[in-house]
Symmetry: C2
Subunit: 245 residues, 2 copies
DNA sequence: GAGTGGTCTAGACCACGCA
DNA sequence: GCGTGGTCTAGACCACTCT
């Protein structure tokens, strides 16, 4: 992977610790180390890559801030595992008025394969025509629907996902576990919308109920878009929480 | 501020670099260095505080990630200045459909002083009864209203703010410049709402228009709440952008 | 006690901005 | 050419975890 030939001083080369970052990020997304497994120690990686331990440390620290790994003093460095709970915490942001988190279940309404439309080809960077999977779900809390979700993913990255039995909870743990896709961030566009007849029926809410519409594009560590999702949230009893930094 | 007496090895003491962080953060919020002014160099600070340059560096790096300072190679370390443009970029998140940023103007509808209600006393941590300033504004783009804002701030922290002449643009530059209040982050609760008669009139939109309601609490570096703001955004033509990490 | 990550130090050299 | 921050190294010691 890394040879001592491309050391520092090379004009225009990225800093060493970023090269280490890239190398480790690649090996993680290629499955060299699986979720929840530990990486070699800082010294072992340093020796293997021919750099100092401090340089490896800096790369690992950045991987930790990007939530790709978790470090535990005295134990080691572990590939972040997307559990149902923390994935829900990070990416499903509906909260009760008192700030407590919801833990919704899901109900699949439909799932089918179809050709990507133009927007999806752009988002996913398809060179030519290719298929996507579209999943329609309902998110449910206390037996009441709180959100509809339309999820679109490239078929090529998620073969046979329709046969999976765990499509009712957070999908990102499934993406990571079964398909080696690590979602690390997402950009969202929010707007306020009025429930039409179909949305109202799905959410068991009156037509005309104000809904919070969230258009999300989810990315891997490499910046690759791997999911396009439109959610419509019933915020009459819940709020969507955001921290601005 | 920092004495060499409380060096490392003290049981339960915070790491040195965090003490340095606190010390520098305090001196900045006390106005020892003003916005856009430069701090002493890493070596100068290290000598002054009796720690190594690497320790100062680590503290400065964290202050930079928290957007309290900005570092420029070859020039120095500067106290972040909240300009109208970047404050707008960070805290006013309405964008056009193509992702481009709005640069709204503001119109003051009312401004008055009154006693804090119970919620405000809790948010601002008032021990006893105290006054707040409430500002009602309209944000305008291309001569069209796009948002209403109700802004509540503690009177004690912002004396005579009603006499300021720059209440029509981003307020955080004003807070920083005139009152030494550095807003560094905010938590927001979003929900979808229907425009009532009053909101509709202010926004020149039909009654029943879906609005994105944003309840924000803004904090300083010390975690102190210094502003409570409710905005209602007309998202028929614009979206509210969020990055999820 | 052995092994891991966390803190702190000291020093070398590079890249950048400016006079 | 000097002063700044940025990178990289080497080594010491601390705090935590497990056996």
């Amino acid at each position: 992977m890394h040879s001592t030939a491309d050391m520092n001083n090379t004009v225009g080369s990225r800093p060493l610790y970023k090269q280490v970052y890239d190398s480790l990020a690649n090996r993680i997304s290629e499955g060299d180390w699986k979720p929840a497994q530990s990486l070699p120690s800082e010294f072992a990686l340093a020796a293997e890559l021919g750099v100092s331990q401090g340089t490896v440390r800096k790369a690992l620290t950045e991987l930790e801030t990007d939530k790709v790994v978790e470090r535990r003093q005295g134990k080691g460095t572990f590939v972040s595992e997307h559990t149902d709970e923390d994935s829900n915490f990070r990416f499903f942001r509906l909260t009760r008025r008192d700030g407590s988190r919801l833990m919704p279940t899901g109900k699949i309404e439909s799932i089918h394969r179809r050709p990507a439309n133009r927007l999806e080809r752009t988002v996913f960077g398809f060179e030519e025509s290719d298929d996507v999977i579209e999943i329609c779900r309902l998110r449910i809390v206390d037996d009441l629907p709180c959100a509809t979700e339309n999820i679109v993913i490239p078929h090529r990255l998620f073969p046979d996902i329709e046969k999976s039995t765990s499509l009712t909870t957070s999908l990102y743990p499934l993406y990571q576990r079964e398909f080696g896709i690590h979602v690390v961030n997402a950009e969202e566009q929010l707007r306020s919308e009025i429930a039409n007849k179909q949305q109202a029926k799905r959410l068991k809410a009156p037509i005309g109920t104000p809904l919070l519409r969230v258009d999300r594009i989810a990315h891997t560590i490499h910046g690759q878009a791997v999911e396009r999702r439109t959610s419509r949230l019933d915020t009459r009893n819940y709020s969507y929480s955001v921290m601005v930094n």
